[in-house]
């Protein structure tokens, strides 16, 4: 049948199971928008392309399905860049579609031409420019396949305007054939045996679990493994929710803002089992002193992660879930563990805590958010102190409930991500735990939330500072608060101007009632919590130090 490129695109998206696109129109995507006009796909018009990319990212993190965003050429495409880089760093499946100037105008600095495949080369898993309409269907199929298999990641498809406008005989593209792409999912049995042996020989095993557990849907296997071994489980920021935070074996987060007991456990374990992790510098601190006495097992889908940052004794390359299943099959449950008992003792001795002085403490706000939602909300965050408090004081028990920018640390992620999450999970409570600085990076998306009746809640931990930077200035730059104090707009009025509901909390006693009310209102709500201004995130490992050296 004869079809236009744009129609083929829409058909292929439908074939991939896409129900929602986050996007923003422009000249180079006019044919695509025309095809979307009566297509059976929901299009969410954001107020900025960065918002579209983060929303697609949030959608993907909440569902595990690739998120899709769409932008025009030139500035539209470059506005996606931060969102694509963010998805890349956190291994989020995403397909970004950009319009491009017509093929005949490529390479001439035409109006709104940007070499977006060149620009996104280092921040995509793969990218394409489609120069002929007959390649379009195959490209879309490959893009979704690459984005969602192996180690997930963003794939960009750049479509020149004449390609989306061209008419061709549309045929099914057939199965994907990519000789250079075949993720290894089944672990090597010999490596599994070696890992089993090392586990059996260990007295003090520690599991270090990351976002890979959630990506692979391996949270049940992780729980089973931990319980079999009576092994404490420390998670990364990305791994929160991959293991129940209220489980006795959970030691919370490790690393720069990890719990003391998690970091002590790293220092004293004799076996470290890294699962779906990448030994990031925020986790390891000074590399040479990370897990000094431990044999290291590293289980990951991406072979390039093995040995990238740290020497690994036993690599297990494969799908994390399958790998854990293979391990579990061959392991015997332990009945007792002195090591576990010791960790339980540490948990009592060195709890993560804050000083209650009767004022509005961010930690308490987060704790109350946990209480009023009974831990059943989907939480997104921006980046800064509030993000770490969210990680510390909201207990995440289920995967895909903590949605935060880990690798890139993108301020402005939380609100658009919350929109994507709310679109994906209509009946659920979605809360963006925000900072007063970060929220202003994509505040325009409040309009999107209002337009589409997405009742996201935004809890601003308003300290009048770029707090995390201020904390570093306080600790490492002699309290010289260089350009970190913020003169903010009135967030309540701002919310109302967008058509959302604005609330303000200035007293401790108001925290809980305000949250309860916000959850009752079926609309987007902004709560401006005026928190203790110079509260710090503790514990903290100073940069470059070993993780045993914690402040606070």
């Amino acid at each position: 049948m004869q079809k236009r490129g744009a129609e083929i695109l829409v058909e292929c998206l439908l074939a991939e199971g896409v129900d929602t696109i986050f996007g923003y129109p422009g000249g180079a995507v006019l044919p695509i928008y025309d095809a979307l006009y009566d297509a059976d796909i929901r299009h969410i018009l954001t107020r900025h392309e960065q918002g579209a990319a983060h929303a697609a990212d949030g959608y993907a993190r909440a569902t595990g399905k690739p998120g899709v965003c769409l932008a025009t050429s030139g500035p539209g495409a470059t506005n996606l860049v931060t969102g694509i880089a963010n998805a890349y760093m956190d291994s989020v499946p995403m397909v970004a579609i950009t319009g491009q100037v017509p093929t005949s105008m490529l390479g001439r600095d035409s109006f709104q031409e940007a070499d977006i495949t060149g620009i996104t080369l280092p921040i995509t898993k793969h990218n394409y420019i489609v120069k002929h309409v007959d390649d379009l269907a195959r490209t879309v199929r490959e893009a979704f396949y690459i984005a969602s298999t192996g180690r997930p990641g963003p794939v960009l498809i750049d479509i020149p305007r004449d390609v989306s406008g061209a008419v061709t005989e549309y045929r099914d593209s057939g199965p994907v054939r990519l000789p250079g792409y075949c993720p290894k999912t089944e672990p090597d049995p010999q490596q599994v045996v070696r890992a089993v042996r090392a586990i059996e020989e260990s007295e003090r095993p520690l599991i270090y679990a990351g976002g890979g557990v959630i990506n692979a849907g391996a949270h049940e296997e992780l729980l089973r493994l931990a319980e079999m071994l009576l092994a404490p489980v420390a998670t990364t920021l990305m791994g929160l929710g991959g293991f129940p935070g209220d489980h006795p074996l959970s030691v919370g987060m490790l690393g720069m803002h990890g719990s003391k007991y998690a970091n002590y456990a790293v220092c004293e374990c004799d076996l470290l089992i890294g699962i779906g992790v990448r030994f990031d510098d925020r986790v390891t601190g000074k590399l040479e002193e990370f897990a000094p006495g431990a044999t290291v097992i590293h289980i990951d889908i991406d072979p390039a992660e093995i040995g990238k940052n740290i020497g690994v004794d036993i690599p297990v390359v494969g799908d994390v879930r399958r790998s854990l299943q293979r391990l579990i099959e061959q392991l015997q449950p332990r009945l007792a563990s002195r090591w576990r008992d010791k960790i339980m003792q540490w948990k009592k001795e060195f709890p993560i805590q804050f000083e209650d002085n009767g004022r509005v403490k961010p930690q308490e706000v987060i704790r109350e958010i946990y209480n009023v939602t009974r831990g059943n909300a989907r939480i997104t965050t921006e980046v800064g102190q509030h993000q770490m408090w969210a990680a510390h004081y909201y207990t995440f028990t289920k995967p895909r409930t903590f949605i935060s920018s880990g690798g890139l640390g993108t301020m402005g992620f939380g609100l658009p991500a919350a929109i994507g999450v709310q679109v994906a999970c209509p009946g659920e409570t979605v809360i963006d735990i925000a900072g007063d600085g970060s929220i202003q990076m994509n505040i325009q998306e409040l309009c999107t939330a209002v337009n589409y009746d997405l009742p996201v809640k935004i809890a601003i931990m308003n300290n009048g500072y770029l707090g995390m930077v201020r904390q570093w200035q306080e600790l490492f730059f002699n309290r010289r608060y260089s350009y970190t104090e913020l003169d903010n707009p009135d967030f309540v009025n701002l919310a109302e101007a967008y058509g959302a509901v604005g609330m303000r909390v200035t007293k401790k006693a108001e925290i809980r009632p305000a949250l309860e009310e916000a959850l009752r209102i079926p609309k987007p709500v902004v709560i401006d919590f005026l928190i203790e201004r110079e509260e710090n995130v503790l514990p903290m490992v100073p940069p470059g130090e070993p993780i045993s050296k914690m402040l606070g």
Binding site: T117, P303, G307
Partner: protein
């Protein structure tokens, strides 16, 4: 620091060179030379990359290259029996009085004279690294005006080859 010679089979797609080159610069790997061209299969190009680094660096280079969707296969031929060749073009300035000497040098290295100017000779020479370097050194005293090297290409000796596997897929690395 050890030099490694990698034979890399890639899909003959536009942009594949940028992907490979970008990867090296981004991750701070040092390329000594890179030569690329068609193979017996028109859909596949072959890059010969000479890279400097210890075992750890080489492992990362290989694994990161494997992650590129357009990269089909990578073989490190360094430890194998292989033939390697490079071609150099050198333009030397010679007055007629020294022409004979230069032609003698060319003879020794089995180089060919490919162009003759009033005051210049252009020579072509193929061989491995060592030979090309020696050739260059012998001509240096006469004044090298221009020099260009192709970068090394390499092939395994005997029946062994670094082509695609039967199933046409990338080898798995652990």
């Amino acid at each position: 620091m050890m030099r490694h010679t990698l034979a890399v089979l890639v899909e003959n797609n536009p942009g594949v060179l940028a992907r490979v080159a970008g990867l090296f610069s981004r991750r701070g790997f040092n390329i000594d030379s890179l030569a690329v061209g068609r193979t017996e299969n028109p859909a596949v190009s072959r890059m010969t990359i000479v890279v400097e680094g210890d075992a750890r660096v080489l492992e990362q280079v290989t694994k990161q290259l494997h992650k590129l969707v357009d990269v089909i296969k990578i073989s490190d031929v360094t430890a194998e029996e292989y033939v390697d060749r490079e071609l150099v073009l050198i333009k030397v300035s010679v007055d007629p009085a020294h022409r004979g000497e230069v032609m003698q040098i060319a003879d020794i290295f089995r180089a060919r004279i490919v162009d003759l100017g009033r005051r210049t000779l252009t020579l072509e020479c193929t061989g491995n690294d060592g030979k090309i370097n020696a050739f260059e050194e012998s001509l240096r005293p006469y004044g090298i005006k221009e020099l260009v090297r192709t970068g090394k290409i390499a092939m395994l000796r005997g029946a062994r080859f670094t082509g695609l596997q039967d199933n046409g897929t990338k080898e798995e690395v652990q």
